[in-house]
Symmetry: C2
Amino acid sequence: MKDQPWWYGRLKESGARLTEPREIVLEILRSAREHLTATDIYIQAHRMKPSIGLTTVYRTLELLIKLGIVQKFELGEGKARFELVDKPGGEGHHHLVCLKCRKIIDYSDISNDEKEFLSRVEDRLKKKYDFKILDHLMWFYGVCRECRGS
Amino acid sequence: MKDQPWWYGRLKESGARLTEPREIVLEILRSAREHLTATDIYIQAHRMKPSIGLTTVYRTLELLIKLGIVQKFELGEGKARFELVDKPGGEGHHHLVCLKCRKIIDYSDISNDEKEFLSRVEDRLKKKYDFKILDHLMWFYGVCRECRGS
DNA sequence: ACTCAAATGACAATGATTTTCATTTTTAAT
DNA sequence: ATTAAAAATGAAAATCATTGTCATTTGAGT
Ligand SMILES: [Mn+2]
Ligand SMILES: [Mn+2]
Ligand SMILES: [Zn+2]
Ligand SMILES: [Zn+2]
């Protein structure tokens, strides 16, 4: 009884039901290798169970975001993208965005270096702005190898 | 002949004309203390010159973004916000977002510490992903003093 | 089986952003 | 100063992601 994904408990505690549409959305997110839009998810979900509506996809994502299970970001494309949050206590990951082709790479080799640095920054912010930092995001922008030519 | 703002040359080089609507949008951004939406800018612009249309505001922002003079971000509000990019070679700044009230604080006391750290990370990313990093963004999320109660 | 809140899906509504197109403004050349 | 071509503009319509409405279905607990 220990092969539940990490977010299972969080969903249960919240009182929300783990319905089939929700399971399907979660499964799609789990197996996704890219950062999906709501419509991407809807299309895949619809294949698995044609009765699912786009509205439900949106509502499910909203719920999962509120529970801290899913993360949403917008890159100026006019639509949001979603991904499963990394398991708490794990490393976390950041993103590299190619400014030419808009490709996104997940970057997860967080060094100790980085962890120490971030906790120092968070201390500083706490003192200076009296802000309690809960999370952070780092995005790196550049040009990928393909877009620079060989 | 040296009191032109830093972006003046960039605009000229690009061949774009510095028209009155563009000057107005730039002046609004320069004097803004918050991160404005396109409509915010339009309302202010309209006060200064009622003939200006919202479409032109959008087109101007698009141009300025392409030239690297303006930065756009979206925080899940369903609309984008804009700000003038920091003068190149300057310190740059990051953002603190309060998850409760959505207030945004500009954080610009970048330490040497941080500069060194980031250049190390960029080296690492360059080696590992063959990505040429041009820029980065850091966002910190937390809860501000007011929203935690005194 | 029964109850009732929670969840769902079809559809309409909203609202930010983009497109279209006719008109005006700017620039460079005559 | 005229003129011609290109760039910029504004009003209005179109697009499209996201949200709201409401009638219906589902599920956990009795
Ligand atoms: Mn990711
Ligand atoms: Mn800022
Ligand atoms: Zn690329
Ligand atoms: Zn707050």
